[in-house]
Symmetry: C2
Subunit: 358 residues, 2 copies
């Protein structure tokens, strides 16, 4: 067992503290990653605030983890000491259900399902704290099968958010059939939305950003979008009617999707990635006549996450980030700003350089 230092949430208010806990010894299939950078995802906040279920405090969240491999189990061939490795949203799954065999471990239907990178109850021999503990920490021990190789040409700090935000775009694009030459609408230019623009542009798509804020137009264009629409302007929306093959809806608060369906061409798809419990309304009358569909998507499997990282390496795609120190105060402040959508576009902790005992 090894002791690690972390910035952990201590209660539901979003209060943080430095906290030491243990990782399991490096097993024969494991690697130890000394964390260089750790991204902040809104899911971290939802989880730690108890919005997605009960929480055992203190909890170390974070699932956009990037660092250097410092130890390698004897059965591991995928990594060697010194490699740059990443860990995304889950660290284990059953490995034998249809979904795991198909490479969509995020939808694992085996006993216990997919094990999230933090907050997933597990035996103490695997996770000494009795639950998985995430990336706001100095190091992580993980089964090499659930770790990713990060292309060396990418800026490491800015590559960390690819592990969650990047794959949350790439996987639905592939699954729902986005192809070069197609037109994609991106609703919401936040952490997910800005990655969607970059990845879709690199895929050869013509991207339209839809936002309520005129102030986002300049950045949308800078990221590679071709068009910008104020989603609250009926004139602009009407003009764009029937213009999109797919819409990537990254909005994480309640909204009706019907007004956006009108923007889709025949056989178009609206893909939701923002988890919102409140139900929205659609009718079969809006879906049938032009064969529209509305689907969801949730991160991506290990093989596809690797494919996404390689794609991003090839196209030199990383997130736009604000680098912050890995201190309780800085993380607390970053969470408040994330909740207020006041971030361009992802906070990343400069863990290796700044996570220190007081």
């Amino acid at each position: 067992m090894s002791e690690v230092l972390s910035v952990s949430a201590v209660d539901k208010t979003g209060k943080m503290a430095l906290h030491k806990f243990h990782r399991r010894p490096v097993g024969e299939h494991d690697i130890n990653i000394k964390v260089s950078y750790s991204g902040i995802c809104h899911s971290d906040i939802h989880t730690a605030k108890g919005e997605w279920g009960p929480v055992n405090f203190p909890i170390c969240v974070g699932h956009e983890i990037l660092g250097e491999v410092t130890e390698v189990g004897k059965e591991v061939t995928k990594f060697k000491v010194g490699d740059i490795a990443g860990v995304g949203c889950f660290v284990d799954s059953c490995r034998s259900c249809d979904e795991c065999e198909e490479g969509v471990e995020q939808y694992c239907t085996g006993k216990g399902g997919m094990h999230g990178t933090y907050g997933s109850k597990r035996s103490k021999d695997l996770h000494p704290e009795g639950q998985t503990m995430g990336g706001y920490s100095s190091a992580i021990v993980v089964d090499a099968n659930y770790a990713l190789k990060v292309p060396e040409n990418l800026n490491c700090a800015a590559a960390a958010p690819l592990l969650c935000a990047g794959i949350t775009c790439y996987s639905p694009f592939k699954f729902y059939g986005l192809k070069s030459g197609m037109s994609l609408g991106v609703i919401g230019l936040g952490g997910l939305g800005h990655m969607a623009v970059k990845i879709a542009v690199a895929m050869g798509c013509e991207v339209t950003v839809l936002s309520r804020s005129p102030g986002k137009e300049e950045m949308a264009m800078k990221l590679g979008a071709k068009h910008f629409l104020i989603s609250t302007d009926p004139e602009q929306m009407k003009k764009a009617s029937r213009s999109l093959n797919m819409i990537y809806d990254s909005i994480a608060f309640f909204h009706e999707v019907s007004p956006y369906l009108d923007l889709l061409k025949a056989q178009g798809k609206l893909i939701m990635v923002g988890g919102v419990p409140e139900a929205f309304k659609i009718s079969s009358f809006s879906l049938l006549p032009r064969r529209l569909s509305v689907g969801g998507s949730c991160i991506g499997g290990i093989k596809e996450t690797q494919e996404m990282l390689d794609f991003c390496g090839e196209h030199n795609i990383t997130a736009e980030i604000e680098l912050i120190p890995a201190t309780p105060e800085a993380v607390e402040a970053a969470w408040v700003r994330t909740i207020n959508s006041d971030v361009k576009f992802r906070f990343v902790m400069d863990t290796a350089a700044t996570l220190k005992e007081e």
Copy 2:
């Protein structure tokens, strides 16, 4: 111009009368089909009752038309006199938009869009009545590009409903990726539902029929289903949780779809083909975690309809029908029974033998 005899709706009450009208002369790309059989689709009733928009009476509806080619335009190579030909839900489209070029003419986005087989306003040189007139008639003149070849081994009367009901199953199965070995749920065992069972079974799928009526179990099994679920029984529904790759929802009245989503496996799709104006509710929370989607579909293009007919020919698939005389009284009665879902499973008019002047 040629005069044809028809059973036409004379007002919104569903009242029928024998009615003579004119078809255009057979042009160089046209064929004339002497109608042998014409199926009755619920859409005929919705249209004639003005439920889908204003109607010009008298109107001759019907878009499951099958008969013998009696005349062939000089540019037509696809048909020869004596062939069995079919006409489905539309008789023309722009032929140059992306959708037409892609072979999904039913979603034509050209000027005027797809022209339905009945009730579509057109110039009098093409349609002497000023609107398209459908299949409850003795003959139809149609552009050969919008007519289908019907496999000779199929029972002609029972093959007529393939032109609408058959393609309304086959096209979404193909578009949404139904494949051999997959499990399909079929909600509602009516005209569409029973075709869905037959076609999916022939595709190699394991079919579960969901119905509110226990009395439908025997027929479901006879059609080839492996399982039968009473959709109002929470126990049965719970047992079937996470068991289906796709659900074909043929219900044409208001219903919530959420309870059915639970039956889907990860990455499952619920496809709606029943046009219902009232909105149902879903939340992204029900779609995201298992990447579910809800889509619609509407008939199919000419090329795919031909593919479906050939598939049905190969597997000897036709509809279960009740043959009725092509008289105003018989059609009126059949419409009432169709509205009451009292038909197993499709009414077909024995047109050639029974449509006669008084």
